[in-house]
């Protein structure tokens, strides 16, 4: 603004420095704890300067927590959610903004409704759906008495048992988390701002709808896709409840879930040094993504919440 206000500016810098300290001090203390030996970490008071054991603790955590496998899982799951959700959302947003067909508004409202319920409120039924994704087909078969009809037709007795168990699989981790339509609405909003002339010109040139989609719409959406991809990657990497429920096999868990085993329990040796080293390691990929892609990240955050 116009006037000079050195005192207020000083206060503002002090406030922001306090904010920075609020973020950095816990992280610094975690680093200090992660670099000590187990005897040092139990000292009272805790030293305020780091020791030399950080890499050793990281190494212990890496082997003890099976983190090699867990990091692979985390990358597969977060990239799967990101790519899958963006692809599926682009296609459906394209369908509902650029086509006129029967039940267009029904499809729109079906997608719209799914924005309303966070996945956390349907814990046990969604678990059921993952344990046997073929269950709805089974109900259909039961309701239509397919087995009875088959017996009547051919004389053979059959029992229809459909099963598609997705517990401990990547698709079981990815698909339920893709079932939210926020990305569809982001792309829909964006498509509505794309000039009409582009589509008219494409049609005059005789381009097919998919040709228009690939050569015109997709390149235009690139910055929205990047912004959204960052948010979705963080979302996928940081998921906790679903991987915790859906993975009974230790090697199918994600890094964030695996971390839990390293938290010292009341009756065990308080290895907080190893736990803190592992925590810093697990938060590293998303933190790097946000730090490097700061500008797109803010855009994605603000856009995807509208």
């Amino acid at each position: 603004m116009v006037e000079r206000t050195p005192i207020l500016d000083g206060i503002c810098h002090a406030i922001l420095l306090a904010g920075v300290a609020m973020v950095c001090v816990p992280l610094y203390l975690a680093f200090v704890a992660g670099s000590l030996t187990i005897e040092q970490v139990q000292q009272v008071p805790l030293p305020w300067t780091p020791g030399g054991e950080f890499l050793a603790n990281l190494d212990t955590a890496w082997t003890k927590g099976h983190f090699r496998q867990l990091f692979v899982n985390s990358f597969v799951v977060s990239c799967g959610i990101t790519a899958g959700k963006i692809a599926v959302s682009l296609l459906s947003a394209f369908a509902i903004t650029y086509f006129r067909f029967p039940f267009r508004m029904t499809a729109f409202w079906l997608i719209f409704v799914s924005l309303m319920l966070p996945i956390e409120v349907r814990i046990s039924p969604t678990y059921e759906a993952v344990a046997n994704a073929a269950l709805p087909l089974q109900w259909l078969a039961d309701a239509l008495h397919l087995a009875g009809a088959w017996q009547w037709l051919t004389g053979h007795e059959v029992e229809i048992q459909l099963e598609w168990n997705m517990v401990n699989t990547y698709q079981g981790l990815i698909l339920p988390l893709m079932a939210s339509a926020s990305a569809t609405f982001l792309f829909r909003q964006f498509f509505l701002t794309v000039p009409e002339e582009l589509c008219e010109a494409a049609r005059l040139d005789g381009a097919s709808p998919m040709h228009f989609f690939w050569t015109v719409l997709l390149p235009l959406s690139r910055s929205n896709m990047v912004a959204l991809a960052i948010i979705l990657f963080l979302y996928g990497w940081n998921q906790y409840l679903w991987p915790l429920l859906f993975t009974t096999d230790k090697d199918m868990a994600t890094a964030v879930v695996g971390l839990k085993q390293l938290i010292p329990r009341a009756d065990s040796q308080p290895a907080w040094n190893v736990a803190m080293a592992a925590a810093l390691l697990t938060m590293l990929p998303p933190v790097v993504v946000v730090a490097v892609l700061q500008r797109s990240f803010v855009k994605g955050l603000v856009d995807s919440s509208k």
């Binding site: 920075v20 086509f99 267009r104 971390l259």
Partner: protein, 302 residues
């Protein structure tokens, strides 16, 4: 431009019918399997009584709900959730507002401050929880040691109040950045002509903030309060699980944690489903409130 049913359709569009249906299949398929069917199942299960092994099922009407509302532990859980979300909301909004005001005032170093304050967004809630559980661990935590030296008998494993303070701190630490970025965007969107006019009239920066900035931020603050409630109700599961596991003695057993323990640990499916349905109703209410923000926000969009 056309009838209400054409809402959201581009004026220039394609006339195919088969193609758009195919394009919608993946999205609607996933939603059907993992959204619509589970939501309907939760609704029906809430009105059924079943034993843990799923052998016998009978219609129970509202019994699950009446039992739930009569149970001491559920009422405790409601109370804990309300205290938690209100405290978290107040702390988060107030800190974010002060930080956003300061960021909006200064010129030098703005980008760096912003980059650092935004970092907790990238950190998983469960990691934030583990971090704070360590800092305030009564035996080894450096911040707990500071409290002990100040003569405060800090022990979140024994005292319910201490445990609540700890989870509120951890949850807010993780969420201030989200509030901050929206408030900062809101402040930047205020037309500079308004602020300049006020400055010419002799209004100092603080006065301008309270008479122009804050009222214009109204819709954003409302939106953030709603989002903080959603966060406090649903997304704190990981923090609670890592830090207190709902204890001590149910002092931090928020609703979403109770759904999980009743359904997956105690295998009381009917009760867990009834709790899901109550949470769904709350989520719907919050979503409707959010749409009010979208409506109002348009009016302020200068």
């Amino acid at each position: 431009m056309g009838r209400a049913s054409d809402e959201g359709l581009k004026r220039a569009h394609f006339k195919e019918v088969r193609l758009p249906v195919l394009l919608l299949v993946p999205q609607l398929g996933i939603l059907l399997l993992f959204f619509f069917i589970p939501s309907l199942r939760a609704l029906t299960q809430a009105f059924l009584l079943s034993d843990p092994f799923g052998n016998t099922v009978q219609f129970a009407g509202l019994q699950n709900f009446t039992e739930l509302l009569a149970s001491e532990s559920y009422r405790n859980s409601i109370q804990v959730t309300v205290v938690f979300t209100l405290a978290q909301n107040a702390l988060t909004l107030a800190s974010a507002l002060v930080l956003a005001f300061a960021s909006d005032r200064i010129i030098r170093g703005k980008g760096l401050y912003k980059a650092i304050i935004l970092l907790p967004y990238a950190i998983a809630p469960v990691i934030a929880g583990i971090l704070w559980a360590f800092l305030f661990n009564p035996a080894v935590g450096p911040l707990a040691q500071l409290l002990h030296r100040a003569g405060i008998a800090w022990d979140p494993n024994r005292s319910g109040t201490d445990a609540m303070v700890l989870v509120v701190l951890a949850a807010s630490w993780k969420h201030i950045c989200y509030n901050y970025i929206f408030l900062l965007a809101g402040l930047l969107a205020i037309p500079s002509s308004l602020l300049e006019a006020a400055a010419v009239d002799g209004a100092k920066p603080l006065r301008r903030f309270f008479t122009i900035g804050l009222p214009l931020l109204g819709p954003t603050l409302f939106f953030l309060a709603v989002m903080n409630f959603v966060y406090g109700f649903f997304e704190v599961f990981a923090i609670i699980d890592a830090v207190t596991k709902g204890g001590p003695a149910g002092a931090t057993n928020v609703l979403v944690y109770k759904v999980f323990t009743d359904g997956f640990v105690n295998l009381d499916l009917g009760s867990s489903a009834a709790q899901s349905v109550i949470l769904m109703a709350f989520a719907l209410l919050m979503t409707l409130l959010q749409f009010r923000y979208v409506e109002r926000n348009v009016n302020y969009d200068v």
